[in-house]
């Protein structure tokens, strides 16, 4: 009678239960190991402006069209030159706003007169395609106040960033989402490009 009351344990069920527990422990172990290397903040892509060589791949390789990479102007570093290496095409004769005088293929830089002899250059991000022609010009002949950045109102944060993969200078880094910019010349919110910096330790 006693034997009939007890539920017999089949070999197959026993093995399955054992494997089930093993799988549960494996998942737990994997989760533990991953969490021990985790950062609380999400990570987003950003360009280290000091590494960027303005190869123009940002304009073409982003999954978005136009690219999520745009030119950013750090006004505090700008010389407000009349002849701007970022704005004017090299060798241009007339320092005017004519299309043939401009570096920018989409006319995304607005040149406005401030006071003699200074001009302010503003990026119209709607038009900017992130080619970096102006960044190259400004970096070669000017103060380097123009630089490329991933704009996070546009970036969809692909797990494998298509531009990062093709970047010849390895300038793309993952940065914490709460400090998502690496501005030239220092700005609140900029951090050195260390993905671990988001960690509490």
């Amino acid at each position: 009678m006693k034997e009939a009351d007890e539920k017999p344990v089949h070999r197959r069920q026993f093995i399955k239960a054992g494997l089930h527990t093993t799988a549960a422990l494996a998942i737990g172990g994997l989760a533990g190991m991953a969490l021990s290397k985790s950062a609380p903040a999400n990570l987003v892509w950003q360009i280290d402006p000091d590494k960027c060589i303005q190869c123009e791949r940002c304009a073409t390789n982003c999954v978005l069209n136009p690219s999520a990479v745009k030119c950013v102007h750090k006004y505090a570093m700008c010389g407000y030159c009349d002849l701007c290496g970022g704005y004017h095409r090299p060798g241009t004769k007339n320092l005017d706003t004519a299309a043939e005088s401009q570096q920018c293929p989409t006319g995304a830089i607005n040149r406005t007169f401030i006071e003699e002899p200074y001009f302010q250059y503003t990026i119209d991000e709607k038009l900017c395609i992130g080619c970096g022609k102006c960044v190259k010009g400004c970096g070669s002949f000017g103060n380097g106040s123009l630089f490329l950045q991933v704009r996070h109102d546009r970036c969809v944060n692909c797990n494998e960033c298509a531009i990062a993969k093709s970047c010849p200078a390895d300038a793309f880094v993952r940065v914490p989402a709460n400090k998502p910019y690496l501005f030239r010349g220092g700005v609140a919110g900029a951090e050195p490009p260390n993905p671990l910096s988001g960690e509490a330790s």
């Binding site: 990570l43 010389g79 002849l83 797990n159 390895d170």
Partner: protein, 434 residues
């Protein structure tokens, strides 16, 4: 005049070759008109609160999907939830991060000391695995946006030969192996690069991927869920766990009456039909084959591991550092036909060639070990499949194949017992139009 001075400076700047942007080549102007310098805008990244909402939606949809599959048994509701997930994880979240791709982030976190994985990504990787271990592949049924997109375009599913189904079913193991190797060495995230659906979610394709995506969708109209069945690397993990799950979707709500009506309802060929009472083949021969396979396994695993480790140099070419080191070597020895942007950037950055070569050698050593393991893994999977095929289990009922069943619920409606249950639920015991 200041104007002339600036032009002079400009000409001076032209004559000097700069490798680095020198700060403030032109002095900061002293404005007299009271002009205030604007600050550059910095639009914020997606707020952290959203990632907790994502996690909540993931857990909710998984719970709901499991309940619909196991308790509620309603294909229509499963389909509705699937469409919601397609919208939320697909079109709203634009496909990133998804559990399928998160495998690579987890691997990168385990192998790359510089990579800190966001907690959200760990959760996205782990939670569907836990649900599968208890309820079967309810994640595939109604939560995965990739599966949802394919499920929504099934037009006229065709049966494919069983042997082809088995052979193609081995590709995900291969894909998983390569994805882990490339993520662990930091070379690439292959699963994301060859994700055929993410382009639809964000209406943007990379060159080449558009054709692949269209082909997969077109095939998917006639061979149901081709990516899930014959490519998905996350599906490999789900297969293993689903085979061990505590509960699983059943075709019939109570008992199987062997009516055969469900057999053709599954577009994924994941319904196993009852077997004859006795093993139809020659037992002695099968046993001999089994022993032979078991004896051959270590040998074949070693041969495959050795072969793959010989391919490691080829495989490592995908890695950025290896590519760069090769280019620099060619340039320095005068064999290079052209100079690349990458080599220009490298020489501009001021690191020594020796350091680069050491790094490249390090990557290649990782690839050597990694591809040895990859070869062993692939051979092991292949042999295990052959060994598994030698086993025979008597089956009296029509059952879902736990490894390959997506718990989509299409078979419910085919079962007469299910109709009986539904009628009882409605309080109607008999009806003329069964």
């Amino acid at each position: 005049m200041k104007k002339q001075f600036i032009i002079l400076c400009f000409l001076f700047a032209l004559s000097v070759e700069f490798t680095f942007a020198v700060e403030q080549r032109f002095p900061r102007p002293d404005f007299e008109s009271g002009y205030v310098q604007p600050e550059p805008t910095s639009p914020a990244a997606r707020a952290a609160a959203w990632q907790y909402i994502d996690i909540a939606v993931l857990i909710l949809t998984l719970s709901l999907s499991s309940w619909l599959v196991l308790q509620r048994r309603s294909r229509n509701l499963i389909f509705t939830l699937m469409l919601f997930s397609l919208w939320y994880f697909g079109f709203h979240r634009q496909g990133c991060i998804c559990p399928v791709g998160s495998i690579q982030n987890v691997v990168a976190a385990l192998f790359d000391p510089a990579y800190a994985i966001p907690v959200t990504v760990v959760v996205f990787f782990i939670v569907p695995l836990i649900f599968t271990l208890f309820f079967g592949r309810t994640f595939c049924a109604a939560v995965c946006p990739l599966g949802a997109l394919q499920d929504a375009v099934i037009v006229k599913p065709q049966k494919i030969p069983a042997w082809l189904n088995q052979v193609l079913g081995l590709i995900p193991y291969l894909y998983l192996g390569f994805a882990i190797l490339y993520a662990a060495t930091g070379a690439a995230f292959l699963v994301c690069r060859f994700d055929p659906f993410v382009g639809f979610f964000r209406f943007g394709f990379n060159e080449g991927m558009f054709i692949f995506s269209i082909i997969i969708i077109l095939i998917g109209m006639f061979i149901a869920r081709p990516y899930c069945r014959f490519l998905c690397p996350y599906g490999v993990l789900l297969k293993w766990l689903s085979m061990l799950s505590k509960k699983h979707a059943t075709i019939t709500p109570n008992e199987c009456i062997q009516c055969h009506l469900c057999a053709d309802s599954c577009p994924f060929e994941a319904i196993q039909i009852p077997t004859p009472d006795k093993y139809p083949g020659d037992t002695t021969r099968t046993r001999r084959q089994l022993y032979l396979l078991l004896a051959l396994t270590p040998l074949i695993v070693l041969i495959s591991a050795w072969s793959f480790s010989n391919l490691s140099v080829l495989l490592s070419r995908e890695h950025y550092i290896v590519q760069l080191a090769e280019q620099i070597r060619l340039e320095d020895s005068g064999q290079a036909t052209s100079i690349t942007d990458a080599s220009k950037a490298f020489r501009g950055a001021g690191a020594t060639t020796q350091e680069l070569y050491l790094q490249a050698a390090q990557v290649q050593r990782q690839f050597k070990t990694g591809s040895w393991l990859l070869g062993a893994f692939i051979a092991l999977v292949f042999m295990m499949k052959l060994i598994y095929l030698q086993f025979w289990r008597r089956r009296t009922d029509y059952e879902p194949d736990r490894a390959n069943c997506f718990s989509c619920g299409r078979c419910y409606a085919a079962c007469p017992k299910e109709h009986e249950r539904l009628r009882e639920l409605q309080g109607v015991l008999y009806s003329e139009d069964i």
